[in-house]
Point group: C2
Chain length 360, copies 2
């Protein structure tokens, strides 16, 4: 096995590996499991940039005292429909799972609920939290802020994070409708791939430090440059309003006071979650009839020449999940080895993945 082909492992093996590594780093068992499940879910859905590849950074930050492994998120204030949570600089996944669970509980009593979190950290992929809501008959909404990467329109400095917005709704399709979008034109990961290769990117992906378009990926990432917002003022405006909800309103850092994951200190990230109980608005079965009908109408669309069919939001990821549950998550070999090395360092005994269980 010296080739560059990916290593395929079962999703539950990946989750167990992540959970074991986190527990070995002093994360309480239940919290380790919640975090591991969110990371593995991202990998299963094909959102590889937000899966287990994040784990080494989390562990490193715990070692440096920049991320608390064993704190418990705490409700600071609440009303029947709202809560504010202090994440106590713990894992974003733990805080977000707690906050979204609370939002759904409150929505089931109250019809709607909104929960903010401050003093949190990277929460992984946004989609995982609204998907928790759909399992319980709710529509879920989630956003977070992040370290600045986008300029204001016509600006020449990073001013706001590439703050995602995720919305999910229950269906009977076998998967929920899930939208999870960041506000940049292309993900920073695409620039990183270019930076490791020929370094050339299209001129509409990013800006240099003067706010002018650049085709130099390293310049954009490491030379004071910036990601270009999707749809320019629309993307910047959405990113800023997400910062108002997740950062300003939560009591977290916002704009420049959010720290990058490679910088020292707590990251001061905040989150914002909403749950809407469908049954407070409409009989759930009727809603499911209607949402499925909307999806069916999209699916019945004529297509551009050469295209088989069109998809609804979340369908692509649901297809990848089904395939990866069958054939395993394909980890890059260097990541796989890095995770095993991390496990070994922390004294975690790792069993070889049972590839037979994947049916591949």
């Amino acid at each position: 096995m010296v080739d560059g082909s990916p290593v395929r492992v079962p999703g539950d093996w990946a989750a167990h590996l992540a959970s074991s590594i986190l527990e070995a780093a002093r994360v309480p068992s239940h919290h380790a499991q919640v975090t591991a499940e969110q990371l593995a879910l991202a990998d299963l859905r094909g959102v590889d940039t937000h899966g287990l590849m994040r784990l080494p950074n989390y562990i490193e930050r715990m070692r440096r005292g920049e991320l608390e492994p064993d704190v418990v998120p705490t409700v600071v204030t609440q009303t029947p429909g709202t809560a504010t949570v202090d994440g106590r600089h713990g894992l974003g996944q733990v805080n977000s799972h707690f906050a979204m669970s609370l939002a759904v509980d409150k929505a089931r009593d109250n019809g709607v609920a909104a929960v903010t979190v401050h003093s949190s950290s990277h929460f992984g992929a946004a989609a995982g939290y609204p998907m928790m809501a759909t399992d319980r008959g709710c529509i879920g909404i989630a956003t977070t802020n992040a370290w600045p990467l986008l300029p204001a329109v016509d600006g020449a400095a990073r001013r706001v994070g590439n703050n995602p917005l995720a919305i999910a709704a229950p269906t009977r399709l076998g998967y929920p409708l899930v939208l999870d979008i960041a506000m940049s034109r292309v993900a920073a990961g695409n620039l990183r791939i270019a930076a490791e290769g020929d370094n050339v990117i299209p001129s509409d992906w990013a800006f240099d430090k003067h706010g002018n378009p650049t085709t130099d990926a390293r310049d954009a990432l490491f030379g004071g440059g910036m990601l270009r917002a999707m749809a320019d003022h629309k993307g910047f405006g959405l990113a800023l309003m997400m910062d108002v909800l997740a950062g300003v309103l939560s009591g977290a850092g916002y704009g420049p006071s959010v720290t990058g994951l490679d910088e020292p200190g707590y990251v001061h990230v905040g989150h914002f979650f909403v749950a809407l109980e469908v049954a407070a608005f409409m009989d759930l079965e009727r809603f499911l009839d209607r949402v499925d009908d909307l999806a069916a109408h999209v699916h019945a669309s004529p297509t551009r020449e050469g295209v088989d069919r069109v998809l609804v939001p979340g369908e692509l990821e649901a297809g990848i999940t089904a395939e990866r549950l069958r054939t395993g998550i394909p980890y890059r070999r260097d990541l796989y080895e890095r995770l095993l090395a991390l496990a070994a360092e922390l004294g975690v005994a790792v069993e070889e993945p049972d590839r037979g269980s994947m049916g591949a």
Copy 2:
């Protein structure tokens, strides 16, 4: 006055004209005023496509029995944090003003509230409703659905409306932060302007009926073509999720069952409003300190060469409002004359605008 220069009139004169026309068309006085204020607000903010130019269509639809002038929006179901409203095929502005007022009232008791409306109609500019929330210490969110104009990604037929999302937050800047974005790459109005001129549009604005890029504005608008979504799958996904909230969840039409404003019958539009009471999450003064600080940080951004300063969402429109309050709303002469003719037809006595009051 035979030239093509615009006619400048005071904002309150425009609102009074609109209100008088609506009353003459059997809209109750209070409802006429609410609607007129929303239309004039759009014109004051420079959103001319959603101002008084919409009035002739509304009146025409009332005449044809496709829009009810004198119905009262009715709460169908409610919980402490939610309500569903039947708009009874009345004016979208009336229904939306009612629903957002209710959402703010409920948010002030409950911290957060969400209100849906079905059987409504065109609500004008989305921004006006979350701006009602900021006047009362709340963050507001609004969306609506609309007749299909966008295809699914790689689709070759209209599947979803150009459904806007508006979010507003209170500040001490003299204006709220206001984001109001539709999901197309460019507004349909820009295609209409091209269609009336040389008919040529950039190839990334729209598709023909086969789902291929077109440079023919009329083809896109009237030949079965479609608007291109901003950021492609992101814009389509947001538009679809807005339809889930405003259409599916509200009990309104959705996707293809929403009717265009030039088509016969009720439009079956739905809306969705959220109000978040800031004080349920954080002392309002502290929030205002923080949101102003975020805005100050954006304003302090270095700029691209040739650019004086960068703006926060809503600032451009606030500047236009200040100028138009001083110098008047500049209506195109043909629109001005059309509105006067409409007033005359309905027997409305119109006083000449007092241009002295504009200080111009």
